[in-house]
Structure formats: C-alpha cells, structure tokens
Symmetry: C2
Subunit: 437 residues, 2 copies
C-alpha cells in the first residue's frame, strides 16, 4: 500500500501580511478554484488534486499545533501528524511514518511519498506521484525522488544530477545545492533536474532511523520525545547521504509560489476585490483582504497586499527579505482562521499599561466556541445572524443588537444558529494578553 | 476696522483617503506644529499664524454645515458664516460680509480680507495681509489682491499682469488664467505674479452686490435665499470684471498643498507612524493613519496613504485625477472628527439587504454625545475609560467591559468621564442608514 504525506511547515513570513504566524502561506485563499470560481488556498488546491487522482483517502498532513484548527476549517476531517514543535523535515518525516504505523495501520513494507504542501502544478504531477512506489521496487533504490524539468538556469534551486537511465526513471548520481547560474547551465546541459522536494521511501526505512537513535517508533511515545530528534532537513540528513537513489522526471507546469515575486505571477494581476486602478498602471499586482477600497494610480511593477494585519507595498522585481523587516514590527494579534470560523482584528492598541482589542468573530452555522478570551474583561455584541450563549446561569438566545459582558474567568459557550453568527468582541487585558510572537 | 474671512470650501476628494466628504483636506492633521511638535491640520496652522499676527480676534470662517463640528473640535469657539449649501466663492463672499454686518457689528466702511484656508506660508504672509486695507485706501482701488512671486513658470496657475507701480503696490492690468508654460514664461518676464486667491474689499461693496440682485443684506434672511445666488467664483464674477484693482506682492514661502504631489513635498517624506521601509526605497512618501503596520520594500517615487477609509498607492509624479476614480467607489461611511471626539469605521458591510457597521468612538473628557445612530438596532461596548449613560430609565455608570443595547428610537445621552471614553458601537440598519454620498 502507498501513503502520501503533505509536509506543511512554514512560519508565514514570506507572504506577509497575508501570511502570518497564525495563517502560513499555504492557507491564504488567494487562488481560484477552477471549477467553482471561488477563492481557495494552496492546501485546498493540492488536496483537491489529490482527490482527483484518487489519492486523498491515503493522504495525511504533517503540521504544527497552530495549524490544526485552520486545517480542519479548510479541509474538514483529515489525518494530521501533529508536530509537538517545529523541528525541520528530518523529524517531521520520522514522526509522520510513526503516525502512519500507529494510527493508520501502515506496515514497514508500505511505501510513503512525501511532498510539500505548496507546489502549483497540473494534474499529471499527481499521476507521476502514483508511479513512484513502483519505481522504488523496480529500481531497487532506497529512495525515489521527483525531478522537475528546469525552465531556466536558476542558481537558487537544488539540482539532481543523473547517472545511468533505467526504464522510466533515472539513477541519481549526485546533488548540487544552489550552484549559481553558470554552474546551473552546465548541469542542465548534463540533464540535471530541479529537486522538487518529493521523495518516496518505505515506512520501515524511517522506523530503522528511529531505532538507530534508540527512539520509540510508537506515535504517542515519539511525540513525547520529539525534542530529542535533531533539527535537520531530511534531504541533508538522509537523502544526500543515500547511495541508492532513483528519480522520476516531471515535465509539466510547476511553480513555486512561496514568495511574493512568484505568487504575483500565479495571481496573474492579483485578486482585484475592492481595488480600483487607473489605465496607466502596469504590471501591478494587488491583493486586498480589507473591507476598505484600494486605489492605484500610475504605478508600475508594484505589489500591494493589504489585510487586517498590515499593508505591504513592494517593487515586483525585488528579492524580498520580509523576514528581517517584519521581525522588527511590534507583536500584535492577527487574523485567524479556525475550525468554527474566522477572527479578524478590527483594532488593537496599548495605552496606560493595558492592551485593548476589538475583534470580529464570524462563526459558521451550528459551530461552537468556548469563552473567547477567558482571562480578560470585555463584552460581546451580536452584529449579524443569531445563536445561543450558555453559561452557569443558563442559556440565552442571541439576536442582532444583543450584547452581554464577558467577565474574566467566567466560562461560557457560544453556538451559532443556522444562518451563522457575526460577533464583535471588545476586550481589555494585561500586556501580552492578546499579542503573540 | 479690518476683518479676515477664511474661505473653507472643498469636497475632500483631492487628498483621498485622508480627505473625505466628512473631513476635507484642511482638517487632516498631517502637518507638525513647530512649537509643540504635535500633529496639526492646515486650518489649525493658519489659525495659529493669524493669532501670532494679532488677527485671530477679527477672523471668521466661511464653511459648510458638514464642517461645523470638526471646526469647533479643532479651533474651539470661532465665528462661522455657515453656508446653507456649497455655491462657490461669489455666494460665499456675499454671505460672509452679511454675517460680518449682522453678527459681528461690521459697517459698510470696514474692510475685509478674504483668504483661502490652505496656504502653507511663513508669518510674513500675515503681515502683508495687514497692509492690504491701507493699500485699498491709498490706491483708490475697489479691490486689492495678493500676488505671489512665481517660483517657476507654472502653466496651471492664474497670473496677475501688472501695469504701473504705486508706492508699495502694483496696479493690476489684466489676468491670465492657466496660460500654459510658454505664455507663463513671457508673463513672468513682464513681472506677472501668481494669483494667491487673497482679496481685500469694503464690506459695503459686497452689500451693493446683494442690493443689485434685490437680495437681503441681513444674514438670516440671506441664508434662507442662498439658493437664488448664482454658482460662480468671486474671481470670475467680480474681480476679473473690476476696472480698478491693485495688488501687493508676497515674496516669501508659499506652497499649495491641495494635491498629493504638492502635499508630499511639504510632508518631507511623510508621517512615518507605523511605517517601516527598507534602505532601497527612494522618494517615498507615506501617511499611515491606520493602526496596522505599513511595510515598503524597494519602492521609488511612490505615495502611499492609508486611513480607515481607503488605501491609495500612486506614482509621485502623476497629476492625480482622484475625483473621477473615487466617484466610482461604493458609498461608505468614513472617519469623522466631531466636537466631542472622533468616530472611526472599523468595519462596514452590506449583506442580505441590510447594512452593518462597527465604529470606534473616542470621546474627549467631559464631552456629551446624543444617541449615536438613533434609527438602527445595535449595542455599545465600553473599551476604555469611563463615563455615564442617561436615558428615561435613569443614569448608569460606564466602566471598561460594560455594554448596553441601543434599541431603535430610544434616546439616550453619553457623557465621557475625566479620562475620556472609548466605545465600540455595533449597528444593523436599512440600506442607506450609515452610508452617505
């Protein structure tokens, strides 16, 4: 049997302000579902492609604690190998395999294909994925990789350098990591491929790596000892040291949309919600998630992205080093997508030694939410829709215009009615009550 | 005796999104008070300069109904000739003179200097203003104008073309309105000056213009018949037809900050509140009134302005025709500065045939506010500070975390305590309840 694991890491800094700590880039709904025309995220697009290739049933996701809610909100009920903390891909791969064995009934002889959560590809990518377990058997290799046909001599990707050719696969002779443009040209002439970050191995191989380190192969036990795994990438720790590697070649469309420059090309002009531009704008990419209008006049080669968390204006050709810039910004709460709905920060400020926050919570029909902000004083106002609030004093029906105080430490439960529930939550708290970083 | 009238017109479109219908550009606090270092508006700067020249006591403002609250909030108690509707400067000048006679005890023999509310000048401008009534007598002219020494051959200003010179003044021979650059060069060689929009005349002259039209000279009566005055500029209707005109020459600093291009030069890089830019930005002007951070990377010759009403990104060199662009935007409520404090729109949306709005009201200490949004259902939550709410059921003290419903049609009064009061008001209403245009 073959399994698929989507590796969903990422700290959310590269596509700021749409991506944040609470919403890494793979969850931003800035793509368009080709069938429904509705906005969708990278993870939703990839999951749909997996389903179309009949692979979703055997797919799980490896992600951090913070992503659990947003994952369930976007994909519904999916298997998640939950990383107790972020420790890079070597640890994530071992954890995922132990999850497959303990929770999904996988055996050591089963194969598993790991893939990143954010490749923007066509359907043939997933058909190729299906062939990788077969190549693992036929080639006798320990690991099978996916090589991407290079579109240009990029100096900043990793390359797989081929040796002899098998039937439908290549033997990988060596690796070249970020070789520079000149060397990339030479490698491409030799038939080298971009390393797509996809690898197929047997579950038993990962189990062996755990046993080598005297670590438990059971998922729950491994979660407890997760911090004793080294922080390393699976590529560096295992793949590049492996003497028996094969690769399949993918020649279809493949885009890396992990940066603004790349994302702006996929967006093809951007999502124009609430955005007006005059006729003299050129090569202008705009994403506006705020409720206020964005007006552009005469701008060229510009990326503008606005959300309730910030506004970015950037030259389209720049290699953006956003990580450093945004690390200097004040820590403030940000937009969150949860299983029950969304939370948008309408205002946040610090004055006189206290923090104040105004949030709009949009709850999906029938969903429940436990005491938002249990440690601070505030109140809830119903803006739209209806539902119920229950506490030790009983249950109260909520209609538009209703409001009730939220005293510190008194638990209650909100339940959205059939039409959903839009609430405004205002709160005052100690420093650090609402901001995270 | 001499009076000063500040003409405060403007629809607030040219510096959008900082300027709006409810906050014309002269009220935006994007300048810096040189003494206190605090932000101030154009009207506050000019009023302070008038006070420094000992002119404030005899100064009044001619402004529209919508501006009354913001004027009192920014200047305190000042005389306002209130235009019943916007009808251009000919009507405004006549109304102002009738206000001076009816409400400020002016006589027909008194002189009055009209000036725009938004010139960015040095103090000598106001000293020159003081000399204009004297020149009116000495020259025997019916109207004395202020000519501005041209800094460059602008094709888009009006020019005063001089005839013979008097002692400390020029006789104005003719006018040239937006002559084009070539002709401007020729006129400047002849000694022509920019028309600064300042004019001095006798109150009686304006009264005569009313009598010519069989209109009342009494302020209250004129207000009632205001719509029968023609829509015309005072320049076109009176000044340019006048055979006896003198001008004084102003050679000091004079900037027109009515457009983004001009404003960006005065702002000298912009107000950098909550704004981070990388080292590769050049000629970048940013004004950020939102609470969220603005990040700029590698942008050049760019103006970015963000407020709770919108985001503008524009090429710095463009002649912005914002009026046309923003007229296409959906009508939505916007930031308002009132005598009691400010109102910021945190969210506004239309769904299912209703309008929903979330506003943050910041009330100054001790100020009162009557039932905000009397015709819609909603609730008030206290975010910060304290105060009292009174209704027919009695008076209630307000502390952070307090909230109360605001049923449609039930009047109440809010009063801010000594530390001020910050409230969040959420409301649902019929279409058109909150949007204006």
């Amino acid at each position: 049997m073959n399994h698929i694991v989507l590796l969903s890491g990422g700290m959310g800094q590269r596509l700021w302000p749409l991506s944040t700590l609470t919403r890494p880039k793979q969850y931003i709904r800035f793509l368009t579902d080709e069938q429904t025309g509705k906005p969708c995220s990278m993870v939703q697009r990839v999951w749909k492609q997996l389903a179309q290739a009949d692979l979703a049933e055997n797919s799980v996701i490896c992600a951090g604690m913070r992503q659990q809610e947003i994952l369930r909100g976007q994909l519904g009920s999916v298997g998640i190998a939950l990383e107790p903390e972020g420790r890079d891909t070597f640890a994530a791969v071992l954890l995922s395999c132990s999850y497959l064995k303990s929770c999904k009934g996988a055996s050591d002889a089963d194969t598993v294909c790991f893939m990143p959560v954010d490749p923007y590809t066509e359907q043939s990518y997933f058909e190729l994925l299906k062939r990788m377990p077969g190549v693992l058997s036929e080639s006798g290799a320990e690991i099978v990789l996916m090589g991407i046909r290079p579109r240009f001599a990029s100096g900043s990707y990793g390359y797989l350098v081929p040796g002899r050719r098998g039937k439908g696969y290549l033997v990988v002779d060596s690796f070249a990591e970020k070789p520079g443009v000149k060397e990339a040209e030479r490698l491409i002439a030799l038939g080298a491929l971009w390393n797509g970050g996809v690898f197929c191995l047997r579950v038993g191989k990962a189990m062996g790596l755990l046993e080598d380190r005297n670590l438990p192969t059971d998922y729950d036990s491994l979660c407890r000892e997760y911090s004793s795994l080294p922080r390393d990438s699976f590529d560096r720790a295992v793949v590049e040291k492996c003497s028996s590697l094969a690769a399949v070649k993918y020649s279809g469309m493949w885009k890396d949309i992990g940066t603004w420059d790349a994302a702006s090309k996929v967006l093809d002009g951007g999502t124009r919600t609430n955005c007006v531009e005059d006729a003299s704008c050129r090569n202008f990419c705009a994403v506006n998630e705020t409720g206020i209008p964005l007006v552009a006049v005469g701008v060229k080669n510009l990326i503008v992205a606005a959300s309730s968390d910030g506004i970015l204006v950037a030259d389209a050709g720049m290699d953006l080093h956003l990580k450093q810039i945004i690390s200097g910004l004040e820590a403030r709460p940000s937009f969150e997508e949860k299983s029950w709905g969304t939370s948008t920060v309408l205002d946040f400020f610090r004055e006189g030694g206290a923090e104040y926050i105004v949030r709009e919570l949009r709850m999906h029909p029938g969903m429940e939410l436990n005491s938002p902000g249990a440690n601070s004083t505030g109140s809830v106002s119903v803006l739209k829709g209806g539902g119920f609030v229950s506490s030790h004093t009983g249950e109260l029906e909520l209609l538009p215009g209703a409001c009730f105080p939220v005293p510190a430490g008194e638990p209650f439960l909100l339940r959205a009615g059939k039409a959903g529930l839009v609430l405004v939550l205002t709160q005052k708290g100690q420093p650090g009550s609402f901001s995270c970083q």
